[in-house]
Amino acid sequence: MNRLAVSLVLATGMTVSVSVLAMDKMTKIHERGVLKCGIHPGKAGFATPDAQGRWRGMDVDFCKALAAAVLGDPEKVEFITMSSKTRLTALVTDEIDVLSRTTTFTATRDGLNGVDTTTPWFYDGQAIMVKSSIGVDTAKGLNGATICTYPGTTSEKNINDFFESHNMSYKALIVEGSAEAKAAYLADRCDAITNDASALAANRLGMPNPQAHIILPGLISKEPLGAYVKQGENKWRQIVTWTAMALIAAEELGVTQDNTEDLKISGIPEVKRLLGSEGRIGENFGLKSDWALKAIKAVGNYGEIFERNVGAKTPLKLKRGLNALYSDGGLMYAYPFR
């Protein structure tokens, strides 16, 4: 009985935040002078250290843009890597200010976990990859197959939903070690491997012969990935949301990393409002008037961020697809800056 009691004490003690001080998030960040950003420990194109040990990726760039908007300096970010199990708890316990870690927006997470969604940063979807040698060209041909699942969160549920709704049988192998999951797939322990399409593209790159694997057409799930904040911090949530909006709006309006200073003076009214030379948008959010300008100057507009990290010139070679601007047939659409 004593051991049980001790275990319970430790369990609660370790997992629960000691105090929840009702202090405004912005005040806290300003006092600290650095933004604490939760990122993926290593996902090509989204958060991965480069040769100099600096973090690179779409999620990393978003953190930098946020630091530039709030603190005026994109380098004032402390990157904290998060496992898929600890990420939401870390947000609730104030270990991080914002979670920018390819986390899917779902109703359950929004409703249950004490966190709030902001706006989608990358529209992804779960896909299935097979070896071209097995002669399957659609996911519906996988009846009875064994599917390896990467350490994920929604992937095992999605794959189950897919097979259940198509009334097919399957066997899942949920492998926590990502190297082991890849090895199991390559050794034919499983017939297929499933993950978000962007991640599968990255996984395929790391395989001995990338051409021997095909990502089956059609996505089996919707995965809108984006930043999460702690529930109840409305002001902070608005700032995170509108920083993403500003970067998307910049692409819509043709504002790039290099032309911000020029457009600030010569741009059309909406550009001027975005860059802070007109109106009081920044002040209304409790920020400086040039918050968006600093963010765009730091990392570029959404299109530039996309191309630099995951676009055609990178090893991942992802197409814009759903992540193109709405005017190009995608889903990226910024609310108006007025």
């Binding site: 609730v92 189950n160 192998l173 070690g177 017939d191």
Partner: protein
């Protein structure tokens, strides 16, 4: 009244009571603190999620488990059964290998003792996770399912596991259980050797009926041996021992056996040399001395440290989730946690389950220990 304060028993009791109050109030403090903070943070707490549909597949399950219908509670049960089955098999293997290694190490044959020494030193000085990775890589290096190694077209070995034929009878579960119960009861009645002749006859009769009934049922419903057969993506029919399970079993039991063999060896060496010499003087053979003189005495000091080796074996089941063998940690502490987000509840369930399992194990080992202790009459 004052004398009470100087009474040893009273003081002891008071100290213990105080300790208990401190512990209980600490538990309460943490529990209330947790509940308050989680409430303030907007986290939904509670155990209702246990009855929701789990919605994920479990790669290896000894119970019938269907992700389409079964709940998180079922997933926990499947995980627990996986843990228990793994623990039982791994403990048996660990024990056998520990004994073998210890005896090899103590052998006067230089080759045997040298081999055992090398094995033990290599195995126990490498972390258990590395063992698992190495063995899993070896298992994956087996031929793929299409090129499975066939043993007489009955047993197949590939990197999807060992496919064995299975005996399928159309028994209902309760029928088999009641038959087994009857057999057990009959066996027990015979064993207690009731003085009354009638009882003994009844017992024999019961066993006979149960045996007949089972033969009858098999012949009526027709038990068939189902052989594994390659169809589509995989082998269908028969029984599968997946590579993840085998890998974990081999890795954990060999690692634990390296530790266990040192326990056994130490205990054997601790038996006074005079015992051996006395037995030799009586003309007993080496084998007989080992079996009847040394091992029974060594067991006294083997069992307590072996208990903790066994407990470590049981807990090592959790490591299976790295390679896809799902025990409690992989099911309720892994996928269920990820999907529902109820981290504290899930981890609490995992800890309580492991604690209960290991307390049971410790209890059994404690009884065994009492049996082999020196009895003073």
């Amino acid at each position: 009244m004052w004398q009470l304060l100087y009474n040893r028993k009273v003081i002891d009791l008071a100290v213990q009571l105080l300790m208990l109050i401190v512990i209980v109030s600490m538990v309460f403090y943490f529990a209330i603190n947790a509940a308050e903070n989680m409430g303030a943070a907007g986290i939904t707490t509670g155990f209702e999620f246990l009855f929701d549909k789990a919605g994920y597949d479990i790669s290896y399950s000894l119970l019938d488990y269907d992700p389409r219908t079964d709940s998180n509670l079922d997933a926990w049960l499947v995980g627990s059964v996986n843990t228990v089955v793994f623990a039982i098999l791994a403990i048996i293997l660990t024990t056998a290998m520990s004994l073998l290694l210890a005896l090899m190490r103590l052998s006067s044959n230089w080759l045997l003792s040298g081999l055992a020494y090398t094995l033990v030193e290599y195995v126990r000085n490498v972390p258990i996770l590395i063992h698992i990775f190495v063995w899993y890589a070896a298992a994956l290096a087996l031929p793929s399912v299409k090129q499975a190694i066939s043993f007489g077209e009955v047993v197949f070995l590939s990197n999807r596991g060992l496919m064995l034929p299975s005996l399928e009878c159309n028994y209902l579960a309760w029928e088999s259980v009641s038959l087994a119960a009857m057999l057990c009861l009959g066996g027990w009645l015979v064993r207690v050797k009731l003085s009354s002749k009638i009882w003994r006859l009844a017992a024999y009769f019961m066993v006979l009926v149960a045996a007949f009934a089972s033969i009858e049922m098999i012949s009526i419903t027709g038990a068939v041996i189902v052989y594994p057969e390659l169809r589509g993506f995989n082998f269908q029919g028969g029984m599968v021992l997946p590579p993840e399970f085998l890998t974990l079993l081999i890795a954990v039991s060999s690692y634990s056996a390296a530790h266990g063999s040192e326990v056994v060896r130490g205990s054997i060496l601790a038996v006074s040399k005079g015992q051996t010499e006395a037995a030799q003087a009586m003309g007993a053979s080496t084998h007989l001395i080992m079996r009847k003189v040394i091992i029974p005495q060594a067991l006294r000091s083997i069992i307590p440290p072996m208990t903790s080796v066994y407990i470590n074996v049981t807990k090592a089941a959790a490591l299976g989730s790295v390679i896809g063998f799902m025990d409690i940690m992989g099911t309720i502490g892994g996928s269920s946690l990820n999907i529902t987000g109820q981290a504290i509840e899930c981890i609490m369930i995992v800890m309580v389950t492991y604690t209960v399992l290991n307390l049971c194990l410790a209890f059994l080992m404690g009884r065994l220990n009492r049996n082999v202790q020196l009895k003073e009459r």
